[in-house]
Point group: C2
């Protein structure tokens, strides 16, 4: 028969020691306890030791709501992400995990905000800032004319975007992956392998990252003296569109022997179209995607991988730069462009 012991895990999570209790137990004032926590150098060695001992014994941790009420800082970071709707982004969940993990080691917690539109996302940020006094915001999936960025700047909130401010002025911190470098590496790899007609399946003009990745292909073709005319197809980002544009490009009089895609979604569509035609990707036609999704690894699709943990860390860095002083002063902005990595598999 077990003993009646209300709490097996030390003091237990429900008991809250207050700063006053610590002070009493250590025979100092509350203020000294606060100093031990927030400005240890101001406390005499011996006193500090004694207080720290009591803190350790009781498992005392300051209550954030009280701290926040006083200091207006919450150690909370909001990250907004919009529903990909149908197909979940292969990028965001890995990024989220990395961000949350790194944030926790820095003493921050992640408030997860979801929205269905830019307007809704702004609304969510508003509530997070007004209600919870979040210290900073991580915005994902930037696009041209991004009203979210405008809003954040107007409000002078500390924020960083995963994605460059396409077409905007860029007066803020951002972290992005060099998409052009990724498609350039993919195209160069194919050129080295002897391909002379390399097609590109892209997104409609005007999406920043889509245009960026397109440039990489164009540049690599230019440098290698390869043609691009008639080898570019644009479509929305669905598997079905990938099939169709792949079919279109293969049905040309002079079809390409290799295809680079702006995304894995399109590449997977192309992959399916090839299979249906009895073509083996990598043997008959080379194929390289972008994002290194799980699906890509499953079907042996070569792809360009984004260094998401590094992106997450850079985002936190940028945010901390803004949080250090009072408010985002220009000059504290960090702009980081990370290099992706070409992951080669059977298809290319």
């Amino acid at each position: 028969m077990e003993q009646q012991s209300p709490d097996l895990d030390g003091v237990g999570v429900r008991h809250r020691a207050t700063i006053a209790e610590i002070a009493r137990a250590a025979d100092v004032s509350r203020q000294t306890v606060s100093n031990v926590l927030n400005a240890p150098h101001r406390v005499r060695e011996e006193t500090r030791r004694r207080v720290e001992q009591v803190i350790a014994d009781t498992g005392y941790r300051p209550l954030k709501s009280a701290q926040s009420l006083r200091t207006r800082r919450s150690n909370l970071l909001a990250v907004g992400f919009q529903s990909p709707g149908a197909e979940p982004s292969p990028v965001l969940d890995v990024f989220l995990h990395a961000l949350s993990t790194s944030a926790q080691t820095l003493g921050y917690q992640i408030l997860l905000l979801t929205a269905g539109s830019d307007g809704a996302e702004i609304q969510a940020y508003t509530e997070a800032v007004v209600d919870y006094a979040v210290d900073g915001i991580v915005l994902t999936g930037t696009h041209t004319h991004d009203e979210r960025i405008d809003w954040l700047r107007r409000q002078r909130l500390p924020f960083v975007t995963f994605g460059r401010p396409w077409g905007a002025l860029g007066g803020h911190s951002w972290v992005d992956v060099d998409g052009a470098a990724g498609t350039r590496a993919a195209t160069e790899h194919l050129a080295r392998a002897g391909h002379t007609r390399i097609a590109f399946l892209g997104w409609p003009a005007g999406s920043g990252s889509g245009d960026d990745r397109l440039q990489g292909w164009k540049q690599a073709c230019g440098r290698a003296g390869l043609p691009t005319r008639g080898l570019l197809r644009r479509s929305a980002n669905t598997i079905e569109d990938g099939r169709k544009t792949c079919a279109a490009v293969l049905d040309q009089p002079r079809p390409p022997t290799a295809i680079v895609c702006v995304s894995d979604a399109l590449a997977v569509g192309a992959w399916l179209e090839m299979r249906d035609r009895g073509l083996v990707p990598g043997r008959d036609v080379a194929l390289i995607g972008f994002d290194d999704s799980t699906t890509a690894s499953v079907i042996g699709l070569s792809s360009v991988a984004q260094p998401l943990p590094a992106v997450a860390d850079a985002c936190l860095d940028a945010l901390r730069g803004q949080l250090g002083s009072e408010g985002p002063s220009s000059g504290r902005w960090r702009q980081v462009l990370l290099q992706p990595e070409l992951v080669l598999r059977e298809s290319g």
Copy 2:
């Protein structure tokens, strides 16, 4: 040239109206303002109107840290999820999104906690509860002898698990998907299609949900008078293991004509193995997976889909049941088992 207007969005996010200001502007006491917000029925119609008008004009929203300091509630829910490491779970990110979206409509925010082990997750919960006074916890990915559940129960924290408490007593709220029903439906579908030898690729014994899904296959075979001997293979949850166990089961003297898998990871492995052998899944051998991952939809793999938005809503329901009164009293536990849906594609 634009006018110098510091804030275009109403009052702007940085200006905080306090309850005192609202009270002054509406010519009532602070308490009355508080009542308008928290107990409107106690306020005279006309007074309420006036106060509400001021609130609307100023865009006033109570500060959570102050509310929380007073009431010990934060309107914060913590959700813990461990890194899937290599292959991101096809389930968790969709679940997270659904959970966050529903939580926001209920006035809750999601604190995202990541951990690499059960111990680390408990540590993260501790900090979330002690520091941020989270109101409740959503735990994902239950397993047998789950120390996280034991800990949450000992601490008497409001919580709900996505996943049944396999092997434990079950004195808490949980939401789960009826895995056995899913594999049963899959197996019955195959039996109706004329298959008489249906194999199952499962996980090692002892994983609750794996055993559960296995049972569904066994039951369906039993009812249909189909054999199971020699048709079960167990392995870890990797694509490579799926390949191997699929190969093993196909190399038998009397191979199956259909295969049901405990997960899409294994099913994808089986799918690849079939293709390498020149077999067309769905034509030569039927194949059905579990989880309805993006990959499954891409490659035309039939699969069992979990109703994740419904799971998220049920989790929130269960949590709200516990938050209503002070503390989780027995009888307030909700246990919800939701039905999955068989999604048929080319492979089955």
